[in-house]
């Protein structure tokens, strides 16, 4: 077993290695793969964004939400309406969608202040059921085009970005959507990471672990819950915008806009690992991979699965997906990231650093000495 001090050269090398691998994959996919593969990665990005946003509310704050498909749909519809009816450039709709969803998210959070657990699950489920019916409602058809949905919501011409060069045709569009998706994923990840590692994030975890205790410790439950729902909704809406821009269409029965969308987000998040920063990312990749692989299996007539399911008239894809999900939950009850953490701990142990190193550490220690003479600086646990 390898022991590495946090912040040591070896730890930085390890981080650098991880970063290099991710960069290699990210550059390799859009340059070397077929455009349908690239599209699958973009699908994974969309799921990652939605699952990361859900993770803030469910994984870190412990407030169950089956209503995120509504936020996703709000993002998609905001983009579609602004682009089609008001002639906005698609790029700006990300900001608008985030703002609209933030407001809606804050409103949806209000019941969460009073309602808990399984009852909150139903309230958010109501939101998920309500959204598509509202969109389809004939009194709102002037805005949403009813059950027809809106189509050709996309970039008229793919913008020219400095490094990418000129992108043309279907393949160019796929590559462009990949990079756009990647930017949104990275931004979402950074927002989540920033929140989780901050004072606000500690408040979220405190609420998850014990609400009453958190309130006693001075966490303002109302503000914290409302804000986290708002931010989560805004992030989820980004996923919705991306999905709409990718497919170019949005309908009330569209992908991830109905209740099933919320369920998929939950699956992705829990399978990846709830309450971890990387969980939704891994979950998104695994889910899209599983989804596509099982669909391929469903169409083939040869091999073991062909013989097993040859009698069936419909594709067994979803059945296989269900079975695999059950197996994953048996093998990795805390998600794939939880499993990976447990396994890697047998190989490498990162020992947290006792006090901050470096120039900033020195300044911080000096300040801590000045202001907090009584208490010890945080994290003084000795390496074991």
């Amino acid at each position: 077993m390898l022991r590495i001090d946090e912040g040591s050269t070896r730890h930085w090398l390890l981080r650098l290695l991880g970063f290099a691998v991710i960069t290699f994959i990210v550059v390799w996919v859009p340059t070397q793969m077929s455009s349908s593969r690239i599209g699958q990665f973009t699908d994974a990005f969309i799921l990652m964004i939605a699952a990361m946003s859900l993770n803030l509310v469910l994984g870190f704050t412990g407030q169950i939400s089956i209503g995120h498909s509504a936020f996703f749909g709000i993002g998609g519809y905001t983009a579609a309406i602004l682009i089609k009816d008001h002639g906005w450039s698609p790029g700006y709709t990300f900001y608008a969608a985030a703002v609209v969803a933030f407001v809606v998210g804050c409103v949806v959070a209000l019941p969460a202040l009073r309602i808990r657990g399984i009852y909150l699950a139903l309230v958010t489920l109501a939101v998920a059921v309500l959204f598509p019916t509202l969109v389809r409602w004939k009194k709102l058809a002037w805005l949403t085009d009813g059950s027809m949905g809106m189509d050709s919501v996309r970039y008229e011409d793919v913008p020219v970005w400095p490094i990418l060069g000129e992108l043309k045709g279907r393949e160019g569009r796929a590559v462009f959507m990949f990079w756009l998706g990647l930017i949104v994923v990275v931004a979402t990840y950074l927002v989540c990471r920033g929140i989780v590692k901050s004072r606000f994030g500690r408040a979220l975890v405190a609420i998850r672990d014990n609400e009453t205790a958190a309130a006693v410790m001075g966490v303002n439950l109302t503000t914290t819950k409302v804000l986290v729902f708002g931010v989560s909704a805004a992030l989820c809406a980004l996923g919705g915008v991306l999905s709409t821009l990718k497919s170019g269409v949005i309908t009330p029965d569209g992908q991830y806009v109905t209740l099933l969308g919320s369920i998929v987000f939950l699956l992705v998040m829990i399978v990846g690992g709830a309450g971890t920063l990387w969980g939704p990312i891994i979950g998104g990749l695994v889910y899209v991979w599983l989804d596509n692989t099982t669909r391929d299996i469903g169409t083939s007539d040869s091999g073991i699965l062909g013989t097993l399911f040859g009698w069936a008239d419909q594709s067994p894809a979803t059945l296989i997906l269900g079975v695999v999900l059950v197996i994953i939950m048996f093998a990795a009850p805390y998600g794939l990231v939880g499993l990976a953490k447990r396994l890697s701990r047998k190989v490498v142990v990162i020992i947290p650093k006792p006090t901050p190193y470096g120039l900033f550490g020195a300044i911080r220690r000096a300040l801590e000495k000045l202001f907090r003479s009584r208490s010890q600086p945080a994290g003084t646990s000795t390496p074991s």
Partner: protein, 299 residues
Amino acid sequence: MERFFQYLFDGLSLGSIYALLALGLVVVFRGTGHLNFAQGEMAMICTFVVWQFNDWGVPLVLSIILGMIVGFALGAGVEATIIRGVAKKSQAGVFVVSIALFLGLNSLAAMIWGSLPPEQLPGLFPDEPDDFQRIFGAVWRYEYIGVLAVALVLMGLLFLLFAKTKFGLAMRAVASNPESARLAGIPTGIVLASSWGIAGAMGALSGTLWGGIVGELNAGLMFTVFIYASAAATLGGFDSPGGAVIAGLTIGVGEQFLAGYFPGWIGQEMKLSAALLTIFVVLLVKPSGLFGSTKVERV
């Protein structure tokens, strides 16, 4: 007035179907503390089983009993083999597993029965166009009266089981404190598996009744009913069987009134949303449902 009674009566019949499925959800929740997302799909599969037996020539009443036995076996089997193993490790895992069951069972039904021409499930009761009785000017179809009667009788039997039998006592003991129940010699495993089984059997009946009203069976048969049922369980309080029945009937009647009296604004397509919104408002006032017990929190 004629309309009032019509909506009331239709609502009661539909509501009794929601109440049956909701009762299943409550029985499972009281036993193991989980929301079984696959409850509706288990009911749907059992409905297909009933149809299949009936199609093979078994009399309908016997096929329904066989379907309920299959439902019991399915529920108990799922609890004993899958749910219990995952629940030991993680609660979120149970949620994923129940969703996986939802997806898997749905797909399985489509695979087995999907390509046949839409199956007609014969109604249990006479449902010719002229099989009705006029009471207070409203049309009381025999089919609806039968559904209501069957549902009420089953609920009555279930309450007898809960309140008067030793098994019911064991179920309540396990629900209130599994550890102590086990120490007192109650076979908790069997009790939990049977509570899932009972839920499955009730699902089978509610599916068959609903299938009889709808006429055509397909894999999406129970999805809306499941949403209504979970709404009913929530409104009534997730740990209160009586609450689930009252709430199920209330929701059934309420949606008929909302859709009937406000055809322009609510109508058929918005009635589910309207019902859910109303429940939402009720929950704001009573966060653990109308009859649910409030959880006392300790730090």
